[in-house]
């Protein structure tokens, strides 16, 4: 009862909502990069929104099902085919024993989520099924999937869930305005440095992974260097090391860091960022924390 990996794709890992509650011990959160698409995939196949799924990056995998299951794909469009027939993203579908699901290069977006009814069943490690690639814990044997791996799926059967949600399919922009809240260490930068940050465009370099996105663009000026006494960081913290080029910290970030953080990406724009790829560009727009919290409270799936 499960899913067999025929070809793993570029980077496919088991992820859920993340390993929270242990960051004070240096244990990173990990979890799905695009939490919105991740939740949608689960809800589409009738799961609790935090069940474990497969996250594929840029190039999808090929899988064979070893029993009958209900599956949904969300996020990046990797032109999925079930036994050679094109299927739609953002819609639950039934698969039968022996069926082959094939995904290709992402034509839109960067990360695609495969959820199955009952969830991907790997052991819970420290409260989560998410893969922590750096410390090789959680997920499937603490690593990304390889050809030949067989993963268990929580529930069999082909009955589609009755009341299905209708999530909005994002448009996956290649150039986006990302809303941020200034700080907590904006005082480390000069007025000119802050202006550079908000007024110029930054390009995602090829050094963008689950840990962080290194951007390149105009150098952000500091008053006297960007080293601070290390403190806690969050998903979306934008740190600027001495090179003056910003780094956005993503799902696999370390829990603490020693570079000044000029701003933090708003929670509702993280999914946009999670679907961008090297070569794409972003600009940063400052909004107030109270405005951000108002927007967050009405931004659903």
């Amino acid at each position: 009862m499960g899913i067999k990996v025929t070809a793993p794709g570029a980077l496919t890992t088991v992820q859920d909502s993340g390993r929270t509650g242990l960051q004070q011990y240096g244990i990173p959160v990990c979890g799905a990069m695009d939490q919105r698409a991740f939740r949608a995939a689960n809800l589409l196949c009738g799961n609790d929104e935090s069940a474990a799924v497969l996250e594929m990056t840029l190039m999808g995998g090929t899988f064979t099902f070893t029993a009958d299951h209900v599956v949904a794909l969300t996020g990046a469009d990797m032109k999925p085919r079930l036994n050679g027939e094109e299927i739609e993203n953002y819609k639950a579908f039934a698969v039968h024993e022996g069926d082959t699901l094939e995904l290709g290069m992402a034509v839109k977006g960067c990360r695609c989520y495969l959820a199955a009814a009952g969830g991907i069943d790997v052991p819970v490690v420290m409260g989560s099924r998410s893969t922590d690639l750096k410390s090789r814990t959680g997920g499937y044997q603490g690593r990304s999937l390889k050809a030949g791996d067989i993963l268990e799926i929580g529930r069999t059967g082909t009955a589609l869930p009755e009341s299905s949600i209708k999530p909005q399919i994002p448009d996956f922009p290649r150039s986006a305005r990302i809303r941020v809240i200034e700080g907590p260490q904006e005082y480390v930068f000069t007025a000119a440095g802050l202006e550079t940050f908000y007024k110029s465009a930054y390009t995602l370099t090829d050094k963008c992974d689950r840990m962080g996105y290194r951007l390149s663009g105009q150098v952000i000026e500091t008053r006297s260097g960007s080293d601070i006494i290390s403190d806690g960081i969050v998903f979306g913290s934008i740190q600027v090391p001495s090179s003056g080029q910003p780094i956005i910290l993503m799902a696999d970030r370390q829990t603490t860091g020693g570079y000044a953080k000029i701003a933090t990406v708003c929670s509702f724009d993280l999914p946009v960022l999670a679907q961008m790829r090297p070569g794409d560009t972003v600009t940063f727009e400052k909004i107030g924390v109270e405005e951000a919290q108002r927007i967050a409270s009405v931004s659903g799936l």
Partner: protein, 244 residues
């Protein structure tokens, strides 16, 4: 409340920054506030990350918004003249120095001008405060190393520093909880697991603890390691009070 700054870290967390310096006094205030926040049981407050001189507090803005939480924190700061109550845990960490347990000990003799006996005596003669955890699961940032043991990092970092290595980098000392690349100089190794995802408390240390290295022989190292793997090793933990 001088020198304290509260700022948003995005829409789901808030950072309280104390005076930005590395000192026991400032770190005590961080832990004092963390205790106070926990005791206050403020609805919507989630986990916290204490560091040298700051406390990051995660919260759910659906339950409490930024101005609301900021107000609560200001109230707690004005009441608690931040020191955590009671004693601190003192963990006695067995460490086998030198030979293949500490392949850089010989180089450390050259770098410091001290004999290996002196290095071991100095390194194990101080109690180190765990200021914070970070970098790797269970990695402790320790304060208090004797400046005589200061040594530059390796020019070329090792690809894999073994788990349990006790090492020195610059004026810091620490323990590698997992095999990891790194440029610190390895002077010894502990048989104790600093990180074990199967334990109820996966990290051995908590921020605010104190640790002391106890020199052991290679035989002791292997005995402790065996006991540790069989779940029969009881790490010695005592309590220390400020001024002790």
């Amino acid at each position: 409340m001088d020198n304290i700054r509260i700022a948003p870290a995005g829409d789901r967390a808030l950072l309280v920054q104390f005076e930005q310096k590395i000192s026991e006094e400032v770190n005590d205030r961080v832990h004092g506030l963390m205790d106070a926040v926990q005791k206050a049981g403020i609805a919507g407050v989630g986990e916290m990350i204490p560091s040298y001189a700051a406390l990051l507090i995660f919260y759910d803005p659906e339950e409490i918004n930024y101005p609301g939480l900021k107000g609560e924190i200001e109230g707690l700061l004005s009441m608690a003249e931040g020191k955590s109550e009671g004693g601190k845990r003192l963990l006695h960490i067995p460490c086998c120095y030198g030979s293949h347990f500490g392949p850089d000990l010989a180089d450390m003799e050259k770098l410091t001008g001290l004999s290996r006996e002196e290095i071991i005596k100095i390194h194990s003669g101080v109690d180190y405060r765990v200021y914070m955890l970070g970098f790797l699961p269970g990695f402790v940032y320790l304060g208090g190393m004797d400046e005589r043991l200061k040594a530059p990092r390796l020019a070329t970092p090792r690809v894999a520093i073994p788990k349990g290595s006790v090492a020195i980098g610059g004026s810091q000392t620490g323990v590698y909880p997992l095999q990891s690349p790194g440029g610190w100089r390895i002077i010894g190794s502990t048989p104790v697991e600093f990180f074990d995802p199967t334990r109820e408390e996966p990290a051995l240390c908590r921020a605010g603890d104190v640790i002391r290295f106890i020199p052991v022989t290679a035989c002791d190292y292997y005995d402790i390691r065996q006991d540790m793997l069989r779940g029969r090793y009881d790490l010695k933990i005592t309590e220390v009070f400020d001024g002790d």
